[in-house]
Symmetry: C2
């Protein structure tokens, strides 16, 4: 049973792409077969693993009916493939808004995918039709939250939107967890935000916390997930721990 | 002649809101009268200066024809007022896309504003109709760029989009400047990104660089611009320098 996980948060710069790339890579290094889908017109996940789109991207699969198999490309990590994105996807949001099945287009496309343990979907920083499509197609959601004020403030609204998607389109959508990112133990604000979020969301917050770690910011400029760029870094270790926690959580359901 | 400046970048988390709030506050502390418009459905600029919307927000001015005067509220800094935002604005993007004058709605509303030296517009992390409206209404654009790889990578695409807006809707749109944010001199990546961006964009990059400074991350949780929260911080000094540079640049035109 393929686990389809959307990585979403309308707040910008909280570590969605960094989490999508490194959760995918870490799951693959512990033996899972993983397909990463870049659903952001910025195409950061695509360039972050230095993949050049070939015949098709997610745009052609959504808008031109191209077979998903024709868009799948390998990454430098065995067992981790990607469906790339491109800038034209920004136009798709308006094009999709005029379609009858505007919330379920991605679900239909993802339904064709065979032979993966995980599908991980990186979302843009907005609660628009691309993110809505990801939440309708997904069986679970992971929400990265930077340990700062604005990211924390937006969480309530995000959860309200997720509830509406669950009620209208996808009753099976499960909050896999909130992951705290860019945590700096030297800064009071990080500790305050962590205790507020854990106090409110309790067991829905992953035990693993992703530290602020320069290797995570440097890795994309080398086109590699952090475990290929610097496996000994605290960032690589944290995403490996997170992948193990995600794998263990799944066993229960 | 009111200078209308849009603060835009589709990359998330680069410091758009932090720059919009603190440029506005700093300009007011050096004697300018400034109106800040929060054009992001996340409404971070609104909560960042602890303002509670009253009769109207930018949503009612755009979508229900409410007079802009009825939405203007004071902030804690004399000479700096704000037009707040709210979450409903997220629906406006789709509603606006079906209107005839979909790119110029904000320009019409902003045309009613009297008696300010500056209007500063905070944009959401997308190149959608809200950001396009801000660029059509503005006389100049400031682009905050975090000193990291993904933010730098997205700049070329942003400039291409800005050129298209200038050609089709607003020939007077001037790139006021690129401001480097969250600069950490201890990190190679920051220095590399700075030298690449200065090498490419030359005099279009502000001399003032905004350092990574925890006071800038803490100030929003106190609902204040950084110069009210901690005027002695490096973040407050940097935004004061930037405001002086913006003021000086304007004299030439
Ligand atoms: N734990 C971390 N430590 C240090 N830097 C990080 C960390 N996580 C992410 N970064 C860096 O912070 C920036 C923002 O992260 P990222 O781009 O992954 O966020 P995002 O939520 O995907 O952004 P967007 O909203 O634009 O899609 C990037 O430059 C990234 O390299
Ligand atoms: N120079 C700085 N030093 C330290 N922290 C900063 C700095 N500038 C911004 N921040 C913090 O980084 C985070 C991102 O900044 P901000 O929200 O202003 O970016 P944005 O571009 O407006 O994000 P969005 O794309 O979601 O609108 C916030 O938590 C903010 O407090
Ligand atoms: Mg991203
Ligand atoms: Mg913002």
């Amino acid at each position: 049973m393929t686990r389809i996980i959307a990585i979403a948060n309308q707040k910008g710069g909280v570590g969605k792409t960094t989490s999508a790339i490194n959760i995918s890579a870490a799951l693959a290094t512990i033996g899972q077969s993983v397909l990463l889908i870049d659903l952001d017109p910025q195409a950061n996940a695509t360039s972050g693993v230095s993949v050049e789109p070939q015949d098709a991207t997610i745009y052609e699969c959504l808008m031109e009916g191209k077979l998903i198999e024709s868009a799948i490309l390998p990454t430098c990590i065995h067992g981790n493939n990607i469906i790339p994105s491109k800038g034209d996807l920004v136009g798709a949001e308006i094009e999709i808004s005029n379609m009858v099945d505007r919330e379920t287009i991605l679900k239909t496309v993802v339904g064709e995918i065979q032979g993966y343990d995980f599908v991980i979907i990186d979302c843009p920083p907005a609660f628009g039709l691309l993110t809505i499509n990801a939440l309708v197609a997904a069986s679970a959601l992971i929400v990265p939250v930077q340990c700062e004020y604005y990211a924390m403030e937006g969480l309530g609204r995000l959860m309200g939107n997720v509830d509406r998607i669950r009620d209208s389109f996808n009753s099976a959508l499960d909050l896999q967890g909130i992951v705290l990112t860019m945590y700096d133990s030297r800064i009071n604000l990080s500790r305050q935000v962590e205790s507020e979020i854990r106090g409110f969301f309790k067991e829905k917050v992953f035990q693993t916390v992703i530290p602020r770690n320069v290797a995570l910011a440097e890795a994309p400029s080398h086109g590699k997930p952090v475990m290929s760029y610097n496996a000994a870094s605290s960032g690589a270790k944290a995403y490996l721990d997170l992948a193990k926690e995600i794998l263990a959580n799944g066993k229960e359901s």
